[in-house]
Amino acid sequence: MEAFKIVLLVFLILCAISASLIKNPLLSVIVFMSYSLIMSIIWFLLESPDLAITEAAVGAGVSSILFFVTLRKLKALQEGGQHEQDKR
């Protein structure tokens, strides 16, 4: 169990760092989702299942959906959109 906890914590830190470093917004949001899922497992191991359910529903579910919707509105997800043209 200790080893499992250490693996989870290492993954948590990796996810947190890579979510801020990844340039592609879509990948970044997906990594942030996996961060929330790992966090919810950690909440469960810390004996707070209430928080685990909330983290899984809000952190991994609703907030990432809101991120996706916002990115789509900003046209950051489309290939060859405004965002891509500025780079060239």
Binding site: L46, S48, P49, D50, A52, I53, T54, A57, V58, G61, V62, I65, L66, V69, T70, R72, K73
Partner: protein
């Protein structure tokens, strides 16, 4: 009596206001300027973005060998940001080292308050789940404030993002008029999944006083199910059972019933005073007095808020 000023135009305050408003150019008349050429007057303003060559500007900015100022600024900027980050990390690590160890019996979090919650909680409020017991009865006022914050947040999003039905219908070019393309796989899976998600959400809400969960988690689950339904079948189908009228009624109704329940609770039955709602046997579904209805109200409130956030971000209406 105020002094009459004849040179108000030159006063410090007037010049400051003008400078803040951007009306005056602080370098006008003080610097030698090259007069504008005829070609720069194209269009309405002197600044013509079409004539501005972005590549030249970038080349000038990135030419750090000639531009010593920018080079120094970049080095200083990077160094100071790294230093700030290290300082923040050091402060946070120092603060963490002072925190008590998790689960320490002598820690400051294990005082008489939590001992009383654990010992008398079930007897006083009738809920088996300690967390719900604490959130909704001992600290019910906090949760009421949080629910009001959710209501205000949803109201602000409505004020900022709402579009009228005509605007949505007329907006053909933009993304606002959003209806998903019918996708057989997605629709079949959604038809199987959504009832299960709803059932699980309502289970979490109704069993809030018996098992982990409660109004907030269950409401978020129900809201996620609604969002899944909308993304698959579109807003027109969802409006058959959940439109703006339903949203208003459910949200305002749940919040006002919640406030009425809370006021009644504080006046009559807060903690040791006789509670007029029977507590029932701990472990039954219909037990624990106030907690079950309050859980339902919070769940409805949260589900509506989650759905409203999505619908307003996506389409600008429900």
């Amino acid at each position: 009596m105020s002094r009459i000023r004849d040179n108000y135009e030159d006063s410090l305050w007037n010049r400051l206001t003008k400078w803040v408003n951007g009306e005056s150019d602080p370098f006008a008349g003080k610097m030698e300027m090259e007069p504008l050429r005829e070609a720069d007057y194209v269009g309405d303003s002197v600044y013509n973005p079409e004539r501005l060559d972005k590549k030249k500007v970038l080349k000038y900015l990135e030419d750090t060998e000639k531009n010593q100022e920018i080079r120094a600024f970049r080095v200083l900027y990077n160094l100071s940001s790294v230093a700030l980050c290290l300082l923040l990390i050091a402060v946070l690590l120092m603060a963490v080292s002072y925190l008590p160890v998790l689960g320490d019996p002598n820690g400051p979090n294990n005082n008489e308050v939590s001992a009383r919650y654990v010992e008398k909680g079930m007897e006083e409020s009738g809920a088996v789940n300690m967390v719900t017991n604490m959130i909704l009865s001992y600290r019910g006022f906090d949760t009421f404030g949080e629910t009001c914050v959710l209501f205000i947040a949803a109201t602000c999003v409505i004020i900022l993002l709402r579009k009228s039905e005509e605007e949505i219908e007329n907006a053909k070019e933009t993304d606002w008029k959003y209806e998903p393309k019918p996708d057989a796989i997605l629709q079949k899976i959604t038809l199987i999944l959504v009832p299960v998600i709803f059932l699980y959400g309502f289970y979490i809400i109704l069993n809030g006083h018996l098992s982990p969960g409660g109004g907030f988690s269950g409401g978020a689950t129900v809201g996620a199910g609604l969002i899944l339904y909308v993304t698959t079948f579109g807003f027109h189908k969802t409006q058959r059972f959940f439109n703006e009228k339903t949203y208003d009624m459910v949200k305002v109704g749940a919040l006002s019933l919640y406030s009425v329940t809370m006021i009644y609770y504080f006046y009559t039955g807060a903690n040791l005073i006789e509670n007029h709602i029977p507590l029932g046997t701990p472990g039954d579904i219909l037990s624990s007095g106030m907690i079950l209805p309050i859980n339902i109200f919070v769940g409805l409130e949260v589900a509506c808020t989650m759905y409203a956030f999505f619908a307003l971000f996506r389409r600008g209406g429900m």
